[in-house]
C-alpha cells in the first residue's frame, strides 16, 4: 500500500493557509458579499415589509437615472455637483498634502538640537487628524463656520502688505491666502504620510551621501540626484494613501447613508455607492498612471 506523504512545501502551504483563513473568511463576508449585494441592490427597487424582510424588484438602471436627475443631497445639491466638488477638492489637496508631508519629513530628518521634540510635534497630526477631532475643532462662531486656524493670516500684516503693495492679481492672491489659511486642515491629514516619508529618508544609506560629497555635489544636486530617486517608490504609496484617506472623509458616505436609512431608498443609496467606488478607482488609476510615468522617466 502506498503511504500518503506530504512534501515539505505542500505542508508549509497548508499550514500557511490556516493563517489566511480569518482574512479570507472576512473577505468573503465583509467585502465580496457586500460588494456584490451593493451592485445587486443598485439595480433593484427595494421595499422592507413589516417583518423586516426585503423585497427586491428589478428596475434596471432606473436608480442610476434617478440618482443623477431627480435626487438631491442632504444640502439639496445635485448629486453630480457633490461628486464634482469632492473630486476637484481632492485633486487640489492631493499635491499639497504630498508636498507638505515630504517637506515636514525633510525638515525632521535634519540634525539639530531638540529634534526629538520637533518630530513629536510633526507626528501629532496622526492623532489630531482623526476625523472626530478636526470636526470638533471647527468653530461655529456666530453663523458662519470658521476653520480652526482661520482668520490668522488674512488679517496679518503680511497679507495686507501683499494685497496693497504687490501687483499680484487679486484673485490669485485670494487663492493663495485661502491656502495659507487652510494649512491646518492640510497638515492635519499629513501625519502618516510624514511618518512614511521619514522612514524612507532614514533608510537611504549614508554612503550614498558620502559619495555625493566626495564627488563634489552641491546640496541641491544631492537632493535631486540622491534623495528624490531613493524615495520615489514611497511617493507612489503616499499618493495612494492620501487619495484613499481623502475619500474616506468625503461627504458621499453620509449621503448614501441618508438615502438608505432616512429617505428609505436603499436602491438609490447603493447606486450612489457603486458610482462612488468607480469614481475612486478611476481617480486612483489615473494618478497611478501619471506617477508611474514620472517614476519611469526618472529611472532613465
Amino acid at each position: 500500500m502506498k503511504r500518503f506523504r506530504i512534501g515539505y512545501q505542500t505542508q508549509r502551504r497548508l499550514l500557511g493557509f490556516t493563517f489566511l483563513i480569518p482574512f479570507l473568511l472576512g473577505f468573503l463576508m465583509f467585502f465580496a458579499l457586500p460588494l456584490v449585494n451593493t451592485v445587486i441592490y443598485s439595480f433593484n427597487h427595494i421595499t422592507v415589509d413589516d417583518v423586516g424582510a426585503m423585497k427586491l424588484e428589478p428596475v434596471g438602471v432606473q436608480n442610476y437615472i434617478d440618482l443623477f436627475t431627480t435626487e438631491v443631497s442632504t444640502r439639496s445639491q445635485q448629486i453630480l455637483r457633490v461628486l464634482v466638488d469632492e473630486n476637484s477638492n481632492m485633486l487640489v489637496n492631493l499635491p499639497l498634502i504630498t508636498l507638505l508631508s515630504l517637506f515636514l519629513a525633510l525638515l525632521a530628518n535634519r540634525k539639530f538640537k531638540g529634534r526629538a521634540l520637533v518630530r513629536m510635534i510633526f507626528f501629532l497630526p496622526i492623532i489630531l487628524g482623526l476625523e472626530v477631532v478636526t470636526d470638533m475643532l471647527t468653530v461655529t462662531t456666530g453663523s458662519d463656520w470658521v476653520q480652526a486656524g482661520g482668520g490668522l493670516f488674512s488679517q496679518s500684516l503680511v497679507a495686507r502688505l501683499l494685497i496693497r503693495y504687490t501687483s499680484i492679481p487679486n484673485q490669485y492672491l485670494r487663492q493663495l491666502i485661502a491656502f495659507v489659511e487652510d494649512i491646518f486642515s492640510i497638515i492635519s491629514r499629513s501625519g502618516v504620510q510624514t511618518l512614511v516619508f521619514l522612514a524612507a529618508l532614514q533608510s537611504i544609506s549614508p554612503s550614498m551621501y558620502e559619495v555625493a560629497r566626495i564627488e563634489g555635489a552641491t546640496a541641491y544636486e544631492t537632493f535631486w540626484k540622491v534623495t528624490i530617486p531613493s524615495i520615489l517608490h514611497i511617493l507612489l504609496f503616499v499618493v495612494v494613501y492620501t487619495i484613499v484617506d481623502l475619500f474616506l472623509t468625503s461627504q458621499i458616505a453620509a449621503e448614501a447613508y441618508s438615502f438608505a436609512f432616512e429617505k428609505n431608498k436603499i436602491g438609490i443609496g447603493s447606486a450612489l455607492s457603486v458610482v462612488y467606488i468607480f469614481n475612486v478607482l478611476i481617480i486612483l488609476g489615473l494618478v497611478l498612471l501619471i506617477t508611474r510615468k514620472a517614476v519611469a522617466n526618472n529611472a532613465k
Partner: protein, 350 residues
Amino acid sequence: MQNERRKPLKPVQTMSAAKKRAMHARLSPDQKIYLAKRQVSGFSMNLITFLLIAGLCFVILYPFIRLVPSVLSNIEDLGNPNVIWIPEKFSTVSFQAASRMIMPEGVMTMVKSIVYALAVMVIQVFISAMTGYTMARVKYKWTGLLYVVVALCFLVPRQSLLLAQYIYFNHFDALGVMRIFGQEVNLINKPVTLYLMALLGFGVNQSLFVLIFSQFFKNIPKELEEAALIDGCGFYRTYFRIMVPNAIPAIATVAILAFVWNYGDTYYTRYFDPSGPYMASKLATTFIDANKVTLLERVRVWYNVPTTTDMAFDALKQAGVLIFLAPLLVLYLFAQRWLVENLESSGLVG
C-alpha cells in the same frame, strides 16, 4: 548599529582655538572671504530652517493653544471682546459639563473605550501579522492575486460598502452556517460585531496593516527560517518563536496606529454599535448643531449659568475634544519614541 549609522560624515574638529586662529592668520584674503561666506550662508540656512520648523510647529499646535483660554474661562465671559488670551475668571465648568455629556458613566466610559481600543488593537495586530507573514513567506500560485485582493480592500472606500454590510449584519448568517443551526441573528448594536470584523481582518484600516506586515516579513532574511527548520521548529513554532520576536518594530508601529485609529473611530462604532460606550462616537453624535439648544439648556440648569451663547457651545465642544484626546496624548508621549526610533525597520518602507 544605529549609532554607527548616525555618525556624522565630517571628522570631528579637535583643533584648539589658538591653533585655529594661527591657521586663520596664514590664509590668503581670498580664502578668508570664502570662509566668511561659508559661515554666513551656513548660519542663514540654519536660521531659515529654524524659522520654518518653529512656524510649522506653531501651525500644528495653534488650534490647541487657541482653545485653551476659551475652554478655561467662565462661560459668561465667552465672547467678551476684552478677553483674548487670559480669561478674567478661570473656571472648569466647560470641562465638567463636557465630561458629563460625553462620559455618561463617568470615568468608566473612558476606561471602556480605551479597553475596547486596546482589545481591537491586539486582535488586529495578531491577525494582520499572521496574514502578512503567509503572504510574504509562503509561495502560492495565487500569491499575486492575494496582494491585489488586499490592496483592493484598502482602496475601495469602506463607506461604499456600509449599506450592504449593515443589511448583512442585520440578518447575519455567517455564510449560511447560522441558518443550519437555527436562524440568522441581528448583530447591529452588539459590540461583538466590531470584534468580529477585526478578527476576520476587516477592522479599521486593517488591510493597510496586512500590507505593512507583509512588506516587513519580506525583508527578514530567509536564513532565519531555514535555521529554525533545521533545528526542528515547525511552521507555527518558527512563526511564534522566531518571526514574531523579530517583528517587534513593525508590531510597535502597527499597534500605535491601530490604537489611535480604533480609539478615534466613529464610523464602525456609530453605525454598527451606536449605543456602545465609545467616546469618539459619543463625541461625534453629541456635539452636533441639532443638539445645540438642548445642551446649552442643560448647562444652564446644571451649573446655574444665567446665559449661554454659541460661544459656550464651542467651548463645550472643545473641552470635550480635550477630554477625549487626553489619554491619546499621554500614550503618545510614551509611545512616540518607539514610533520615531524604529522607523527604518518598521516595514513602512517596502
